[in-house]
């Protein structure tokens, strides 16, 4: 079998289902504790957020809509005045450390100059305002986070020894004896280059990745985004940056071009293989001899043995909607699964280069053909393609999950991968837990009938 093929990319019509990128506010407002997200858009955006994020709305969210009305569209009202009014109200009610304006399709089409208005409103209101254009015209789902982080990059303090020291002192006085601050001012870092990780992960996952690098005696100088806006890491020449998520290509570009940081191009720490390769790469860039990584990876694989028995030999089809597809596919191939197709909204071959290479190696190692990678997929054609080989598992959005289940194809809701903790060695198992859930619940009594679809009962 010929196995060392180079990846082949295809591009379809782009008629696929995904979440609107404004959904990034859902996890970002929880991540950045002192932020407030203001989505400048229409009822459509609000309706999406309200329904997609369901219960989080119950918990007094720190996000809201600036709902555009007919007067805003026809420019009878001054955007600046209106936004100022709303931001003052937010300041009064919540007093956040930063307000993030999310531009939407409508602000794009009516060419509302959010970037131009923001500095003016910022001086009036006295709170930093960041503008991110996370709209459905240009981006898909998780790319929303990319636009926010790219915009936030500009607000990070300049990396400079004197300033960096002073900044550290102020943050320490603010956050007190927070356990994370211990990482920031460990002394050994002084003779090492600075390393900043970018990508939003829950606090516990961040601390797990921190301690993973600490084992290799690499200490971090910060995360983008940080837990609080006022703790953003300093950036500049001589700072190394490394991404933890595959959808952060704009952020990576901004960090390199605008902040002169040096990008560590590594596979992403998803799955034990990915995490290992990720640490390996960081170590090699920072001239550190990795220590005990082999054993650590092996141990993790051992603990997952029960799950791997379940998935080995099973086939999977990614319809594609969140850009995590390549990394998860690579991990699942390593687990012994057969991947038919990897749909993906957008493929940055440079930013994901190391990940693609690892995918290629993994295919070779596991003696699997390279899966076809379909950019901007066409959901209708994908479903037609799926009927023939009938994969054991389709990883897909909610729009298709129930109908596919009714047609006898087990599905896993892809959005869960975005919200679940899947990074690092510690969480490798929860990734498999997600993937095997539909396979484990197989109950022959109820689910054995080949099709429960209404359409096919005629």
């Amino acid at each position: 079998m010929k196995t060392s093929e180079a990846p082949v990319f295809e591009c379809e019509t782009g008629n696929y289902h995904t979440f609107c990128p404004i959904s990034c506010v859902a996890w970002l407002y929880q991540k950045i504790e002192d932020s407030f997200f203001l989505v400048v858009g229409t009822k459509t955006c609000g309706y999406f957020l309200q329904n997609a994020l369901g219960v989080t709305i119950l918990a007094e969210p720190r996000y809201a809509m600036a709902e555009l009305e007919e007067g805003d569209i026809s420019a009878q009202l001054s955007d600046q005045q209106e936004l100022k009014k709303i931001c003052l109200q937010i300041k009064r009610d919540r007093n956040p450390s930063v307000i993030i304006w999310i531009g939407t399709c409508t602000t794009e089409i009516i060419k509302m100059d959010l970037e131009g208005i923001a500095p003016k409103v910022e001086t009036c209101v006295g709170i930093p305002i960041i503008v991110a254009r996370a709209n459905g015209l240009d981006y898909a789902f998780t790319q929303g986070e990319d636009t926010v982080l790219a915009a936030m990059t500009h607000r990070c303090p300049e990396y400079n020894w004197c300033i960096a020291k002073r900044h550290k002192n102020t943050t320490r006085s603010i956050i007190g004896d927070d356990p994370n601050s211990a990482l920031i001012d460990s002394k050994e870092k002084l003779n090492r280059p600075n390393l900043v990780l970018f990508g939003s992960v829950p606090a516990s996952v961040a601390s797990q990745l921190n301690s993973e690098l600490k084992r290799q005696s690499i200490s971090l100088s910060g995360w983008l985004p940080s837990q609080k806006y006022i703790e953003l890491p300093s950036l500049g020449e001589g700072v190394f940056v490394c991404g933890v998520n595959p959808f952060l290509s704009r952020t990576a570009t901004t960090l390199m071009r605008r902040r002169k940081c040096q990008l560590v191009g590594a596979p992403f720490p998803i799955g034990p293989d990915g995490t290992r390769a990720w640490i390996d790469k960081i170590c090699s860039v920072l001239n550190v001899e990795p220590d005990g990584l082999d054993v650590r990876e092996d141990n993790i694989w051992k603990t997952m043995q029960d799950y791997i028995c379940l998935v080995t030999g099973k086939s999977v089809f990614f319809m594609g909607d969140n850009l995590l597809e390549i990394s998860i596919a690579r991990f699942l191939i390593r687990c012994g699964m057969v991947v038919y197709e990897v749909g993906i909204p957008y493929m940055d071959k440079r930013y994901q280069a190391a990940e693609l290479l690892l995918l290629q190696h993994t295919c070779k190692k596991m003696k699997q053909p390279m899966p076809r990678i379909v950019e901007k997929p066409d959901n209708y054609s994908q479903v037609q393609r799926m009927y023939e080989p009938k994969p054991n598992l389709a990883i897909t959005g909610m729009a298709h999950a129930n109908p596919l289940e009714a047609r006898g194809i087990d599905t896993k809701w892809s959005v869960e991968f975005t919200f679940a903790q899947i990074h690092g060695f510690t969480n490798a198992k929860s990734l498999l837990e997600l993937v095997t859930r539909p396979l484990r619940r197989k109950n022959d009594f109820v689910l054995s009938s080949t099709s429960l679809s209404k359409q096919s009962i005629k």
Partner: protein, 513 residues
């Protein structure tokens, strides 16, 4: 611009899609950017729909902004036409396309030359109407389109059926308990000896729309969707309609009374017989519906004079207000609706039944009102349920917007005699739950919610560091105990005297499922 956290009625295109995808073999194409097809997710999850939602997007991206849609919309329409052969394709505008001001009607005209299916442009103004108004408008538009078409082809059947029959108008997908209501309504009509001619839009077929005028009369159970269609059919074909919502005992009786009148109007023509439903109504109220007896029973005595606040769409809020006041003796301190366009009707309906009427689309106003009145129970939408949670007041959900829990697989109509039973349960449970909570608090409260430290500690050899403990406290309560125990077992097995954050991670890595 206005600051908004939640909304009651959705945007216009949702209404159009609800009506279009309720019909059988109708496909809707949205002119919208990527991610606006969230409707498919809602239908697939909330309704637990087994089939692919017949809605696709003709995606608006940068290229469309720069050059216009050009052939894209037309190509997408003819592609759907070939792939799925729908009876009709409805081109649905969204907020985006309404600003772009492309001539979608022109696309529709051109596409209908190329495709076999009827192509219709849903003519709704995004910024002027909401989901409910758009649904109403679209349904009328579709009915008008196909009856005009039948008129032209001379296939329109205007001869009334031999036996009494009625159309049910306004049952649609993602409607609040619509499926159950429809079943109950069908049963009610059948027991009255009235057959159902057609149900639209849910499950309706476009080819049979021409037979709509064959029914003796139309019924519109919900004011929000269907009224325009009924008015159109009255104007065009002289069909009378009943717009009374048969919710609660007295209004179900009123509904039946009107049906009686309409049936008799034709019966006089066909035969000299006259039908009388009085006995049926009496028997149903006495034996099938428990609500009348329930409101007389001791149970209900306890809730008499208690206060409630009501909020919802016009139909449900008005009906529930009437039921609470007239049928259960509960005081309604405030009744409100978000259907601003129907404010006049609503005011008229609840006049004299409640102390205050609030008509607003702003949920914070409703929240403030509830907080201020401190009712014993709320009957509202999911939004009010959230408000109730925050101020510890029980809430019964009576109207959209809704969650998946409001699409129960079990039979839960709000209409008809079975509906009265369901509503009685809902009311009684809400008040009782509040009472129970109150008593628990009076007598010392629930169990403590603190983490129990005694789970594994006959010997207290294992200590948790401050950091690990605080990490533990971040874990949701329902799994915290288990994780704590697993970690301690792991520490014991490995002779670890103190649990640090790293130990918790290691324990997680080792644990089996």
């Amino acid at each position: 611009m206005k600051l908004a956290y939640r909304m009651y009625a959705g945007p216009a295109h949702i209404g159009t899609l609800r009506v279009a995808s309720s019909f059988r073999n109708v496909h809707a194409i949205m002119h919208a950017p990527l991610g606006d097809d969230y409707f498919n997710v809602m239908r697939s999850t909330l309704e637990r729909e087994r089939d692919f939602t017949p809605v696709t997007a003709s995606v608006v991206d940068r290229h469309v902004l720069a050059r216009g849609s050009q052939e894209k919309v037309i190509n997408n329409i003819s592609r759907k036409d070939e792939e799925q052969r729908p009876d009709s394709i409805v081109l649905t505008p969204t907020c985006t396309s309404s600003i772009l001001q492309e001539d979608l009607q022109n696309f529709v005209d051109r596409a209908s030359l190329l495709s076999e299916s009827d192509v219709i442009f849903a003519d709704v103004n995004y910024y002027r109407v909401n989901e409910l108004q758009a649904a109403d408008k679209t349904l009328e538009q579709i009915v008008r389109h196909f009856s005009d078409k039948a008129c032209k082809q001379c296939t329109l059947d205007r001869s009334v059926t031999n036996t009494p029959s009625a159309n049910i108008i306004g049952i649609s997908t993602l409607g609040f308990h619509n499926q159950h209501d429809c079943r109950e309504l069908k049963r009610l009509l059948r027991e009255l000896g009235i057959s159902v001619n057609q149900i639209i839009p849910e499950g309706g077929s476009l080819e049979y729309l021409k037979d709509l005028p064959r029914a003796w009369f139309n019924t519109v159970p919900y004011r929000e969707v269907g009224l325009m269609t009924a008015i159109y059919l009255e104007k065009e074909y002289g069909m009378p309609y009943i717009s009374v919502t048969p919710m609660g005992i007295s209004y179900t009786a009123k509904f039946i009374g009107q049906a009686e009148k309409l049936v008799n109007a034709w019966f006089c023509v066909f035969s000299s017989k006259i039908i009388n439903y009085n006995l049926y109504v009496e028997n149903q109220a006495k034996f099938v519906s428990q609500a009348a007896w329930f409101s007389k029973s001791i149970d209900c005595q306890n809730s008499a004079g208690k206060e409630a606040v009501i909020s919802g769409d016009a139909t449900h809020a008005a009906s529930i207000t009437k039921i609470l006041v007239r049928e259960t003796g509960i005081r309604v301190s405030c009744s409100g609706t978000y259907c601003k366009h129907d404010a006049e009707w609503f005011n008229e309906q609840v006049q004299g039944l409640c102390d205050e009427v609030i008509i607003t689309e702003n949920h914070t106003e409703v929240g403030d009102m509830i907080a201020c009145l401190e009712p014993s129970a709320i009957f509202g939408t999911q939004t009010e349920r959230h408000i109730g949670k925050r101020i510890d007041t029980p809430c019964g959900v009576i109207s959209s917007p809704v969650h998946i829990q409001n699409f129960p697989p079990g039979y839960r109509p709000f209409l008809g005699y079975e509906g009265t039973n369901q509503i009685a349960d809902l009311i009684y449970n809400s008040f009782n739950l509040g009472m129970e909570d109150h008593l628990l608090d009076v007598f010392g409260g629930h169990d403590t919610k603190e983490v129990s430290t005694k789970s594994l500690s006959t010997d207290k050899s294992i200590d948790w560091t401050y950091e690990a403990e605080s990490q533990l406290n971040k874990i949701p309560g329902f799994v915290r105990g288990k994780i704590k125990k697993n970690t301690e077992v792991f520490a014991k097995q490995n002779d670890i005297p103190e649990i640090t954050v790293d130990v918790t991670y290691a324990a997680k890595e080792r644990s089996n499922f």
